[in-house]
Symmetry: C2
Subunit: 562 residues, 2 copies
């Protein structure tokens, strides 16, 4: 089990990633300015300032040591029982351990942490060694009325680690970092079994020895864990090709307060309802995933990225829809709308971006859309798919924009969350949200969500920038991923975003979108779950929870509406 | 809604299919002999007689009019309420209506019906018009303690319509034949919504007008319904390519005694556990599926079948496994073991079969395995896949056996159940069973299941013929489909098979197979469900059932162990 770096407390990246920090002393303003300049080229800063009514200003987080934690509340006798079960080194309630496992990485999480608020910190952190210890600690905590929150990479974007227990019971985090190893590899069956705390890079390293890959690459890949992917129904950047994480899970072990479930049967079964699918996406509310079995594949023999441009969003969507219909979607698909396309060209700056901008303008695609596609697999098959897709894209008005655009995207595929921290340092609201809809409903969902966000975030002299892309294509529809930038309301930053998020969620559901395509429900989306699955659907989930977790200790305040 | 023929009471095919029947009068023995000769060429009869210790004899079913039905038990007041709800023509309790909806088409079902036993007949048959009427009748029946069994095509192979209610309450069948129409087609999104009573041929006809196909082709295709496919997690002959029925269901409506659930959200969602996957495979135990939304695709531009031969079963499996690993499996895959290959050549008879047998022998594959593969889709993509697969198959020792073999299989793809009736007429036990396992476990599952069947069915002078094929391939494993022929024990035919089935199921589970790959659980497999999903898994299913069906009226005696 390799050492895996933890995320910094107030943002993204391993500790030390920050370039500008009040605590670092020195000429603060200069450092912050330098950081902003490094992050945003001048044309981008000017464009954003003009577009948003934003005044770049230095808004650093409070120093980490000033973050306030409430005192731990784990009762002594419970702590003693836990120590007897796990060993003293695996029951920690020091400030550092608790702070590092407080909440996730949504905008709301970061705003709280940056302002010095860690009132949602767990009372202790447990690190069990295996399924048996996890099951035992769940039984113990259930008996004593102690809330259990599973913790993998801590990357939740929807408050998956920020649920509130209505009974305000003591809370322990089950940190899965000791269960992060490879359990077995079945090469002929293309199956790997691993601990839930394992991260993508470590798994890929281990699989490379067998010439295999999982190929699941969400933006959080450097830090997120396999257990977290399973618990949240993650999707990755190549999911159009390799499938969503739900599709890759062939089995898992779920430790609950009332026993252990072994679910799934590769390759397929008709033995009743799909219980594996109940555990996948359960977000810690039914128990803790202690092992996952995943479908892997040979490492692709070829991997190619290229850019295409379209005159309009509608034209780009129509082209993707036709590819989808004929099962010709590339393995990676990313179609940016005009706002995102323009912003990306400005943000990336430099001569290359200028040249591309000129090229698009000369094709009449100046206000158009950029499509990045990626192909992976056996060269002969990739070539045939690529040729067939190329001819459809051309018929639908697409123009090739070269491989440089595609490769640039590929190089920066994990950069988003790092960039966000820099923007937060300078008075911006930055958050993302996502949904999916059928091809028929997609244009209406796009329009309604953007309109709702713009109306909610507009104030006199200020308006937000909403950038959207399709990131995953399916035969029947596609996902939409929206990035929102706005001048932050420094007095009420949380309320500013909550209002916008509420309006956007209402709008996308009304237009036929799903509550979430790959971020999960968490605490942030739970008020809308009944809109997605109906009141009887929620009743079913509650019945399952009551069976496995009768005391309701498993991640309360998440997933299920209050 | 087109008229759809019902299955004959004692076997397969529309009424009138039988060629030899005691009730038809005339020279019975001659008719029966003629039927057997038409079914089995002389070498096949001789081979089976020798192999099995079977004496061909005439064992016709009793005339339909001699089948005994118990008197209907639906209480008058309940009947009156149902009539008020549905109209008098949709509440039928005449002998013909009840008899036609008694049980399914497993060997156990057929043996009972052929012997004149219809003691499991429902007390009445209801034909609701829509979701609202179905929900209302479920509420009504729940209130009055009347058991409800949903009925689509009546093709269950595992006693899915033959559950026993421990409280022996009155039973109504909900026949879905009035809910058999197309509800909507969303061409851009490749989605179709249809009533649960719609059958494959009617759906394909309707889709053909849009140049679309579903492509789900199980052997029961002529009679089975969409609702039945969803309720049982069906797989079809081209499922390796188009996906299992579970993969094709994008949404459904489930009417339960306590309300209606709308489940699923195309194209994908991360909004909590997969409740759609709970309804799919629920086998009528949670309620009645009243609408299904399915993923469809353009009709394939090309469709090709061909045969390959391998020196041995192990060589054939190894070749398929390598195709699977590289995502090169054909859309149709059917690898027969040596016993099935030999029997197929004998059964098909004629000069073509003789020529093929000779050809196999000359390649040293005389005791080998036949593989039928089928390719569908866009010609350029099919060509690339076919070329890549061909080169792997050759490397793994496969020899092309020509397109005639493949096309012959395709022509006779729905023939199995018709043939079975002829064999039942002549003193044979004929039944199938199926499982799936990872590529690593497959050889052990194959050996263990065959051994168990052979030992259980062997008597002095008699032994069974067990023929096996892989019918569905996946990256991680494959299915096994076994056909068993034996000299029937005319005194205790049910016990003879139940003993063998029990031994085979114990053996395949112990070796790592799944309880069922595509036949579902039904009444026949339910004693083993806890071996598949564990005691806690069964508890979860019970909790879901208690929430939606608190009086336990929905298809009791099926799926959930007693």
């Amino acid at each position: 089990m390799a050492e895996q770096p933890e995320l910094t407390v107030q943002g993204w990246g391993p500790p030390g990633t920050r370039v500008a920090h009040v605590a670092e002393g020195g000429s603060l303003e200069l450092t912050a300015d330098a950081a902003l300049k490094r992050t945003l080229p001048k044309p981008a800063r000017k464009h954003l300032a003009r577009e948003l009514g934003w005044t770049p200003r230095h808004t650093p987080p409070v120093p980490v040591e000033q973050i306030e934690l409430p005192p731990g509340r784990l009762p002594g006798p419970v702590r003693a029982e836990l120590v007897a079960l796990l060993g003293v080194e695996n029951v920690r309630d020091d400030r550092e351990s608790r702070l590092r496992r407080t909440g996730g990485k949504s905008y709301l999480d970061l705003v709280r942490r940056r302002s010095g608020d860690a009132s949602d910190a767990p009372d202790a952190v447990l690190t069990p060694a295996d399924t048996a210890q996890t099951a035992a600690l769940l039984e113990l905590c259930s008996r004593h009325g102690v809330v259990v929150v599973p913790f993998g990479g801590g990357t939740s974007a929807v408050g998956g680690l920020s649920g509130t227990d209505v009974d305000d019971r003591p809370v322990v985090v089950v940190d899965l970092s000791r269960m992060a190893g490879l359990v077995s590899v079945d090469v002929p069956s293309s199956l790997v079994t691993a601990g839930p705390g394992m991260r993508g890079p470590a798994l890929e390293d281990a699989l490379a020895e067998h010439d295999l890959t999982l190929g699941h690459l969400p933006q959080s890949w450097e830090f997120a864990t396999l257990g977290g992917y399973a618990a949240t129904r993650s999707a990755g950047q190549a999911s159009t090709g390799v499938g969503r994480f739900d599709d890759l899970v062939e089995g898992l072990t779920l430790a609950t307060p009332t026993g252990v479930l072994q679910l799934g049967h590769a390759p397929a079964s008709a033995a009743g309802p799909d219980l594996l699918g109940l555990a996948v996406g359960s977000e810690g509310t039914l128990g803790v995933i202690t092992e996952v079995t995943l479908r892997v594949r040979p490492r692709p023999r070829t991997e190619q990225y290229e850019g295409w441009s379209f005159r309009s969003w509608a034209a780009g969507l129509a082209a993707l829809q036709r590819l989808a219909r004929h099962d010709l979607l590339p393995d990676v698909v990313r179609l940016s709308d005009p706002d995102e396309t323009r912003a990306n060209l400005l943000l990336s700056g430099g001569a290359g971006a200028r040249a591309l901008r000129g090229a698009l303008r000369s094709r009449g695609h100046g206000a158009g859309c950029l499509l990045v596609v990626g192909w992976q697999g056996l060269p002969t098959i990739v070539r045939a798919r690529q040729r067939a897709a190329t001819s459809l894209l051309r018929e639908d008005g697409g123009k090739r924009a070269g491989t440089r655009v595609g490769e640039a995207w590929e190089r920066h595929r994990f950069a988003g969350p790092y960039l966000r921290d820099r923007l937060l340092d300078h008075g911006l609201l930055v958050e993302t949200l996502e949904t999916a809809a059928t091809w028929s409903a997609l244009p209406a969902v796009y329009d309604a969500t953007r309109r709702a966000l713009r109306e909610a975030l507009a104030t006199p002299g200020r308006k937000p920038l909403v950038m959207t892309h399709v990131s995953h294509g399916y035969a029947t529809g596609a996902s939409l991923y929206l990035t929102v930038l706005a001048d932050r309301d420094d007095d009420l930053p949380l309320q500013q975003w909550l209002t916008a998020k509420r309006a956007a969620t209402d709008a996308l559901l009304a237009a036929g979108g799903t509550l979430t395509h790959h971020h999960a429900v968490g605490a942030d989306h739970r008020p809308w779950l009944d809109r997605e699955v109906g009141a009887r659907g929620v009743d079913v989930l509650r019945a399952v929870k009551a069976t496995l977790d009768p005391e309701g200790i498993c991640n309360p305040g998440v997933l299920l509406p209050s």
